[in-house]
Every structure is written in structure tokens, then in C-alpha cells.
Amino acid sequence: MSNQDKPLLDVRDLTVAFGAGESESQPVRSVSLSLGRSEVLGVVGESGSGKTMISKSIMRLLPSGGRIASGSVWLDGTDLTTLDAESIRRVRGARIGMIFQEPMMSLNPAMRIGEQMVEAFVADRRLTPAQRQTAMLEMLERVRMPDPDACLRAYPHEFSGGMRQRIMLATALLMRPELLIADEPTTALDVLIQKDVLDLMIELVRDLGTSVMLISHDLGLVARYADRVCVMCDGKVVETGDVATILSSPSEQYTKELLQSLPARDRGRQSTDEIDTNKPVMKVIDLHVEFGRRRLLPWLKSRIVRAVDGVDFSLRRGETLAVVGESGSGKTTLGRALLRLVETTAGSVEFDGDEISSRSARQLRNLRSRMQIVYQDPFSSLDPRMRVEQIVAEGLRLSSLTGADRANRVRETLHDVGLSPEMARRYPHELSGGQRQRVSIARAIAMRPDVIVTDEAVSALDVTVQARVLTLLQTLQERYGFSYLFITHDIGVVDQVADRVLVMYRGRVVESGNKAEVLDTPRHPYTCRLLEAVPRLEKTTDGGFRHSNMRFDPPPPPDGYLHDENFLDINANAGVLVHVTETHQVAYTEAGERAASLG
């Protein structure tokens, strides 16, 4: 069949424009790409590269003000750009399915799952309600939703992000569309869940013969799942080709840059020898943070969440300690508890030999300038009404510096973080995301603190910007000797910046040790799964990259202990931390206890 040779989707010379005349912008410029039958095409690009606009113009769902200025989109011989409203509606859902990024926002909160799913049959009137019901149940079964019957009757808020994304997938595939557009389908999810959902998606589309356009900012992820990849930058296609080829020998400069920006071990520091191990700047002993209410009346249930549940660690001068964990692991709470931004329930925090967890707010004030924090979101963490220089100088008001000295310090600090002096007069909204994060960093380092907590400080940034900010943080550390508590969910970033790593799960530390110990020879089952789930690219000897699927088999536990396999079980007893080397600690279950609980 000659029809089979032709691509299913053929985008030719597509230009998308917003506005008109002087103010016209073109987020997509002369883009051509094609997608074969049963093929998975990855579209990779940083924010603003126009990748989402392409998917929206294929569906003809551009936001208001946007229009297809020129070009055509052929789906199996039909130009979608010329269809009238009624005809394009028949293509949507039936022939092209779509999955969105934010599973919390892409299902209608006011409608039951069943009501929303059944709408997918809008184009197909042949099926009876009973047949529809069967088809929906079958599809929910295939995406491995537990209890599909109950699922149809439930509302979206009753499900977790991963479950919602499975429901989305089931809805999109219900009509067996020829093409599935998945726009950053798992960006909002934790790594383990991301892997579950994507594995499932790929398995299903292979089975159904659906072609997939997988849009993502994550080159590693695309490398794992796509057949071909299309790299976009600034509204244009930079390079298209086979995944392996693009990774091993990219021909365009931008692709090379993108690959080089990926966090990688060899650019990070290897040794921790120079760090003074005797004098921890911060020491945390059995820290507990609980949220929620204790029961006020005897018949009410108490709702207590143990966000941090018995954490011990010390942070040495000049080192970077990475705290890794999924959402809900308590890593953010831990960071805030160190600075007393949340109150601790029990345990102690020593700063420079001083116990601070019981200090009054007044006594803390002086210490605060020695402990700083950089937040994740550079948009909401800066006061929009303050100029950059005011933001950076604000903390200096507590110091003994004179006005002139302060101004000098601000200038110097801005220079340190790589911002030009004229930026000082700007407001946050006049800066890009990367620049704003530099301002956040400048604000933190202006007082020359001892400890800086960075809470997902680079997570919201594009890869190339992220790489520059990470380098900046390392340079500043070398210059001023800060200790970083580096909170992140991104293993790649940990690999690049950390000296030591603390892996958290549900408020507890499950494994900690030097970077190499934890990342290369993980021993806790959770750490292993986490590391396996992260899509990773590794450098090949000839300077290119290739996708690596890692498998970790933890070595047998020390005598008298068992692997903490039931860490997923919320009711199971927590493992005990055991030193497997002088620096490497792993949570194990005590053998006697397991036997006791089984007996």
C-alpha cells in the first residue's frame, strides 16, 4: 500500500503569528516536520521555542489572537488548515487525541470522570450507551486504573496527578485516534510516576498503532521514548533526525549546546577531601516537623502529617549537600525548618555550635543573616514593587555597613552573579527567569551567609539557563566558601553539584552518603528505583551522547538486616539507618523485627 509509505502527519512550512503589523510576533516560523505511522516523534525545545504552538495549530486550538499565517498541516491527505469549524471538530478527539501537561488542571473539576470520558464518543454515534460504558471500562483497565467502575463515578480531585494523567490517556485513546499529541505529559509528575505513565503510554500506542508527537523540554526523556527527534529553538526547527544519531553526532550548534547543558558528572566536582570534616556549620539531630491539628475533642480524628520525621545530618563548611526526594518527601519542609521558617516539633538544629531550634524570634534575627534561602519560583519570590538594588540591599539594613558601603556591596554582588550594573534600577518583571534567579541568589549572598538553602532553585529554568546558574553557584561557593543545602528532585543536577547526597522519602532519610556512593552504588530499593526512573544521557568516548538505561541491583544487606522493601507501605515500621561505610548510611529493616511481624 503506497498510502502506508506516506507520513501520517506532514507539517509544511508552518508559520503561526500573533498580533498584526508592528506588534506581530511569530512563535512558529516556517516549520516543517513529518510523522510516520506508528512512529514516536519527540519535539524538544526550551520555553518559547514554539513547540506547544505547533501542537495547538495542528488541532486548530490556538489561543485567541493567534492564527496560522502560512503553511499547511496534512493529516493523511487532508489539509487541516483549510477545514471549516465543523470539519476540524470531527478531526479533534476522533483522529487526533491530546494530553496536556498539568493533570491537575486538564480534567474538569466539576464533572465526574465518566461524564468527561463519554464525551469522547461525540463523533461516533454508532455505539449504544452500554457499549460505550464497556469501552470506557476496558480502556481504564488498560491504563491500569484500579477499580475502573468506581473511577467513572469519581471526580478528578479524588485522584493523584499520576492517576489523572492515566485517565487523560484513556480518554484520549478511547476513540483510537491515529495521532496522539502529548504536550509535556509528565513534567508535573514525580520521576517514578513519570516513568510509569510514559511506559504505559508507549506500550498502549505501540499496541494500537497510534503515532505520537511527544513534546518535551527534556532531551533525556525524549531519547528514552522517541524514535526520531525534532529540536526546536526560537520558533524554528534546528535539526531533525533519528534519536541515536542526533545524540551521538549533532550537526547543529544549538543541539550541541543543549546536550552540553545537560547536567553531567564530569563537569562537577569529584573530591570532597579538602572539606574540613571536623567542624560542621550546621548539625541536625532527630528533627521532627509535624503539621496539622491535634484533635481538639476526643471524638474527632487528629490530622497530623509528619513532614519531617526524625532526620539527622550535618552540613560542613564549604560543602554542597543535596537533599533529593519526590514531592511530599519533606525536603522543602526540612530546608525551611533549618532556617526556622517553619516551627520544629522536636529535635535540635545547631548552627555553628549554637542550638537554635529553641531560640526566640528576636535572638534569631542576627542568625538569620547568616542563613539564606533561594526559592524555586523566580516570579513569585521577588517583590514586584522593588527595584533589583532594593531587593539585594534589603537584608543589608541589619548589618553595620554604612550607606556607601551598602551601595558598594550591592554593586559587587550584582557583578558576582553576572548581572550588569544597569540591571540595578530594573524591576523584577523587566527581567528574564534566569536573571530573576540571579537576583534571588544575589539577595542571598549579599550578606555573606554561612549557609544557603536552595529550594529547587534551578528547577523552573530552561536547561541552558540552568547550566549557567549551576556554574554560578559553584563559582560563588569557591569564592566565598558557602555551604549549600541543595534541595532538588532532579538527579542530574545532584550529580553535577553535590558533594554528599541525602535521599528522603516520606519525611525520613532512606540513604545518605558521598555522591559517588549514593549515585553509583545505591543500596536502598527506593534510591535504586529513583535512579532507574530518571532518563539519563551519558557521554560516549567520541564526545557524543547516548541514552543509558541503568539497572541497579543493591548488594546484600549487612548481617542481621534485610532490604527495606516495604518502604512504600505507610504503616510499616521505618527502617533503621545503618552505616555500610564510614560515610554511607542506608535504611534497613532489622531481620528480627521482620520475622517478628511475620510470625
Binding site: M59, L61, S64, R89, R90, V91, R92, G93, A94, I96, G97, M98, F100, Q101, E102, M105, S106, L107, N108, P109, A110, M111, E119, A120, V122, A123, Y155, H157, M168, T171
Partner: protein, 313 residues
Amino acid sequence: MIAFTIKRLLQTVPTLLLVAVMVFTMIRLVPGDPAVVLVGDINDPVILEEVRAQMGLDESMVEQFRLWFVKVIDGDLGVSLMNGEEVLPALLQRFAVTAQVVLLSMMFAVAIALPTGLLAASRHGSATDTGIVFLLVLSLSIPSFWAGILLMLVFGVKLGWLPTIGYVSVVENVAAGIQYLILPVIALLLGEMATVTRMMRSTMLEVLGFDYITHARAKGLKESTVLWRHAFPNAFAPTLTVLGLILASLLGGAAVIETVFTLPGLGRFLVDGIYARDYPVVQGALLLVAFIYVIANLVVDLLYPIFDPRVRL
């Protein structure tokens, strides 16, 4: 849900208690004495004292409150100082008049406002939207009493289609009753309609930007289905809160409109009571108003989960 309702109703008890105390003391802080108003021109201290004693005003404030409050708990709001009328039946009768006007105007206002807001939002930035917004601003800027007077002039005086002032109960004479209601309902409706439309338009605009709307479109649904089935319920939930507030405040007395059209409603009753320092009437009326507020908000809260299942009672 039943537990929630009971809890909320129990919560109203301290609220009403507080209102009772405040109303009772505040009205007595206002200069003026109901006895003086009643006695009028007769300048005789003896008669004045007698009247005061009859009214129970010679007791201490605490004692007065105790006497009043014990009766209130019994469901007896006392009698008007002016004409000896039982306060509770009088209030309910007046409230019925206000409720007719307010509920009718609210019904029509909502019926017009919801589709209008939806239309404006779905055509955001178009001439239709601009036109609707212009009309909204216009009707919000017209005070209801002025609209009332204008309506009276045009339809009552010039055209002679409708009666201008007065009130006939619908129970007594349906046709005449309706005729008397039309103008006040319209006068009241303009402002409500504009507020609700504006609210609906802005929440709708927000909702239309959400992914689940794009998702609904990506499923191949008709635009009208997307708007009414997916966007509307989500946009309506916040609007409902505003509706409850407007409704409560209007039911508590649309005094201005009632005055313009000389309707014997709750608002006017209250205002007259204040002028006459008719303590039992003012106290009773304000208690009723507070009660209406509480109930209206309770109804809104109970309706909320229908439109937003994330809210659990």
C-alpha cells in the same frame, strides 16, 4: 451535609445573640426618646413620665434587655410603640412584600446576566464584548432610585401604561398586583444584573483559560457544549457567592426603591421605625435582617458543592 447544616445553624445562635445585644444598645444610644415622639407637643413632664413607664422605658437598660430578650426567645417581638401593632406579624407581612420584589428582580437579573456574561467572555475583546461591558458600566452607574423615577415618568406618567406608586397584594388581585410590581422590579434589576454579569464574565474568562477547556475542545465537542457544560458550572460557583450576598442585602431591605414606589416593605418599615425611635420595631427588624443574611449564606454554602464537587461540607 446534615451535620454541616446543623453546625451552621448552631453557629447562628451566637451571631444572633450578638446582634440582639448590639441592636438593643445602639438604638438606645441614638439621641431621642420614643416617649417624646409619642407625646408630641404636649409639654407635660408628668404625662411624659407616665408614657415612659407604660413603655417600660423607666427600667434600667439591663432590666429592659432582660424583659425584651425573654420574650424574644418565646417568639414574641413585642408591640410597636407607635400603634400597638404586634411586631412579628407586621414584620413578616412587610417582608413578604420586599421578598416578592427582590426575588422577582433577582430571578430575571440572573436569567439575563448568566448568558450575557457567558457571551461576553466567549467573545472576549470583540465588539459584542465591548458593547456589553459598556452597558454594564452604564447600568452600574445609574442609582436605582433615579432609574425608578425615570421609569415612573415614562411608563406611568407619559405613557400611562402602569401605575406609578402604591401596592396591591397579588393575593387580593393578581392582575393589579403584578402591574404594581413591574416597575420596582425593573428598577431594582438593573444594578443586580450588571453586578452578576460582570462577575460571571470575569470568572468565565478565567475558566476559559484553563486546560480542561482546551481539553474539552480537543475532544471534538461543540463550542456550545464546551461553554455550557464545561465552563459554566465552574464559572458559576464563585458567582453564586456574590448572588447570595446581593440577595441577602436586598431582602434585608430595599429601602430606597420601596420609598420611591411607596411599597410597604421591610426596608421602609425599618426606616420609619428608626425615625419614630420605635425600639421594638427596629430591634425586631434588624434581628430578622441578620437572620435573613445567615440563612441566605447557608443556602449558598449548601448549593456550592453542586457546582464545585471539590468543596465538601
